[in-house]
């Protein structure tokens, strides 16, 4: 699980970019702002991942997966 809560862009995207170097099929990530949610989603989609997210209070829990 990548915890990027409290981090502002581009740091959350850099975190997921580095994690994706291991080319796993699925990642889980937490962010706490709308901009990070949008930017991580866009980056993941460009890199062939689908994205689902749920709200947990003020945070967003994202699931990035390859189908």
């Amino acid at each position: 699980m990548i915890d990027a809560r409290g981090l502002s862009c581009p740091e959350p995207v850099i975190r997921i970019k580095k994690a994706m170097a291991s080319k796993e099929k699925e990642y889980e990530m937490m962010v706490d702002n709308q901009t990070a949610l949008e930017n991580v989603t866009r980056f993941a989609q460009h890199n062939g991942y689908e994205v689902e997210y749920t709200r947990e209070g003020a945070d967003y829990r994202l699931r990035l997966y390859q189908s």
């Binding site: 409290g6 502002s8 581009p10 995207v13 850099i14 709308q34 866009r42």
Partner: protein, 355 residues
């Protein structure tokens, strides 16, 4: 398909912002200065008497509008999220030196685009420096640079800086004798659109920038880091729209010499914007973005804006700001010190292993 819609939104927003920026010049703002976050914060600092440069004293309603426009749209979109605590004093210092860089070049990244759209080719040196500065910042981002996380604040804490903007607006309209306003003919501070026009322009652009996350630094940064072009498209759209409007109304004057509120020292234009690009990447956004984030309740950005404000005051009090005649010796020292300080901040906040 969501990405396509995002792209279309930022293109339209960029065009609208470019037209508004060029329109503000027609309405009375200084040439190639429909918007300049650095210059306008500097003018506001002058109006409050924090510096006494008589040529640049006016409470600029554009700044007030940008913060409040972003605040209003953030409230509507339920994105008003007061937070802060991510190395605020470091951000203050970065904001301070970003302003020193801006006043060496005579403009923030936003005005750099508007200067290019007005045919001021000196800004090409600025753009080269700006890109080099962003690359320097990206180098450290890739190696784990971080100012650490933010924490949630109360709704009131996030509202302090927007509230101050309302006070500034009251002071502008009431114009008590202790507020300084540049006399007509004395300098760019005397050139301004009517208050209502400037305020409306700020509100609209603030809202659009909040909606699209528009950022001059972010555009080049994300293109380099992630091959992500969305923000850069906004940047290009502003340039294109301002260029077209300038050409139509006769405000496009290509060349190097005699450009409005600009000087021709290529090296120092480049170094000034290098400092701005580097510092802004470390801050996470350009001065415009800092205003918008302030409106969203980000107190770190509010502290950064105070750093910009204080940087502007020091720049004029210590003769570090350039003029049409060129950079000053003190300004060159300020930029050199700024580059050294920003480099140290980048190094000490870069850790190979996070957490």
């Amino acid at each position: 398909m969501k990405t396509k819609r995002e792209l279309l939104t930022i293109l339209i927003a960029g065009l609208v912002i470019g037209i508004i920026a060029a329109g503000l010049v027609i309405a009375g703002n200084p040439e190639n200065m429909g918007f300049c976050i650095a210059c306008f914060i500097r003018d506001t600092a002058g109006a409050l008497g924090v510096h006494r440069a008589e040529a640049v004293q006016y409470i600029r309603p554009e700044i007030i509008g940008l913060i409040l426009g972003a605040l209003i749209l953030a409230l509507v979109r339920k994105e008003y999220a007061p937070r802060g605590g991510s190395s605020p004093m470091t951000r203050f210092v970065l904001g301070f030196f970003v302003m020193i860089g801006c006043l060496m070049f005579l403009g923030c990244p936003f005005r750099m685009i508007l200067r290019l759209a007005g045919g001021d080719w000196n800004a090409i040196f600025g753009l080269i420096g700006f890109i080099l500065g962003i690359l320097a910042g990206v180098f450290f981002l890739n190696r784990g640079y971080s100012l650490k996380r933010t924490y949630q604040h109360t709704r009131l804490e996030g509202a302090v800086m927007p509230a101050i903007q309302i006070v500034l607006l009251v002071l502008l309209v009431a114009a008590p004798s202790f507020i300084f306003f540049t006399e007509p003919g004395v300098g760019p501070g005397a050139k301004h659109a009517a208050i209502a026009i400037s305020l409306a322009a700020g509100l609209i652009v603030g809202a659009l920038a909040q909606r699209t996350r528009l950022c001059m630094v972010g555009g080049i940064r994300d293109a380099v880091l992630f091959r992500e072009w969305k923000l850069l498209c906004g940047f290009v759209a502003i340039f294109a729209a301002a260029l077209v409007v300038n050409a139509i109304v006769g405000n496009f004057h290509p060349g190097f010499a005699g450009q409005p509120v600009a000087h021709t020292d290529g090296l120092w234009n480049l170094l000034g914007m290098l400092l701005v690009g580097f510092g802004s990447v470390l801050l996470g956004g350009c001065p415009l973005r800092q205003l918008v984030l302030t409106g969203e309740g980000n107190t770190d950005s509010a502290v950064t804006v105070l750093g910009l404000f204080m940087g502007a005051a020091f720049a004029h009090n210590f003769s570090m700001a350039s003029s049409g005649e060129g950079p000053t010796f003190n300004g060159k020292v300020g930029v050199a010190v700024g580059l050294a300080v920003v480099l140290v901040i980048a190094i000490v906040n870069t850790r190979k292993k996070e957490n």
